[in-house]
């Protein structure tokens, strides 16, 4: 992953990148960020701030603010998951020549217009 992942949030330098014994941790073992972590690249692509947008999860139907999603950035791409069911809402892969954006896990996004 290049560094271009909108890692403005302070959690982005999570030491979870390094090998560590996380098997003993309760609950969610793999560190993840919130929707802010994907705001940068999506702003580059579409020029809207996705964090405040409302999205509907195609898997479980939950309607929630995008900022509440679970974002996995320590991967070959960015994976955004529903905070209710952990289903994949969005995937973004950045290659040297193009972006690949999969939003098939979202049945809609509701984006406020600037007034």
């Amino acid at each position: 992953m290049s560094g271009n992942n909108g890692s403005d949030s302070p959690d982005a330098t999570d030491p979870g990148l390094e090998d560590q014994d996380i098997a003993g941790r309760v609950a969610n073992a793999i560190p993840h960020l919130d929707g802010n972590a994907v705001a940068g690249p999506l702003w580059e692509l579409f020029r809207f701030d996705i964090v405040a947008a409302i999205g509907r999860c195609r898997h479980c139907g939950a309607v929630r603010a995008f900022g509440e999603t679970m974002v996995y950035v320590d991967a070959p791409g960015i994976v955004v998951r529903c905070a209710s069911c952990e289903g994949v809402l969005l995937r973004l892969v950045e290659t040297p020549t193009r972006y690949w954006l999969d939003v098939s896990g979202l049945s809609y996004l509701q984006i406020d217009r600037e007034v």
């Binding site: 992953m1 979870g16 990148l17 390094e18 090998d19 560590q20 014994d21 996380i22 098997a23 969610n28 073992a29 793999i30 993840h32 679970m70 996995y72 320590d74 991967a75 070959p76 791409g77 994976v79 998951r81 952990e86 994949v88 995937r91 892969v93 290659t95 040297p96 020549t97 193009r98 690949w100 999969d102």
Partner: protein, 198 residues
Amino acid sequence: MVGIISSGFHGRRQSGNPALPPGQYETGSFPVLTAGPAPRIPTDDWEFFITTEAGQRHAWSWAAFMALPQMDIETDIHCVTSWSKLGTRWRGVSLDSLFENVETNCRFTMAHSYGGYTTNVALADLLGGRAWVAWEFDGEPLERAHGGPARLLVPHLYFWKSAKWINGIELTQDDVPGFWESNGYHLHGDPWREERYS
């Protein structure tokens, strides 16, 4: 635990090292890359399956899997995000053993993981002593973060093919893109040919 003092996640570029495929650098650490939360699978509940085009289902419990011939593997691994880790040591069961009694005319497979991850691998890449279901790393049971209790190990392909938390292999007639292959990554993923992107 690996017990290696890391020289840092980014390692050092060693373009002169013939063990490194093009565009790779060596790291002493073992970065955890994952597309989602790590599922927790007690070995009592664990199962490995192979399904065929004829609808046959071969399945192994943890005990049956552990009763198969076990192999020690020393190999280099190469992640598409550009790190390589040389001389890693694993223990596991060869896919040749698992496929021994499987009848199929399919040339392709889809690996399925607990948690929903998928990756497509040609059957030829799984056979011939080049792929394993590995459950031990560096002499210790494979940590959950690295795919424990067991992961696929296909070290001659980029490491996203070595699916963590492996659950089974589905034989397929066609080469169907898996999780990353359907969103920009290469169908095959040979690091020596730098097959990173589609």
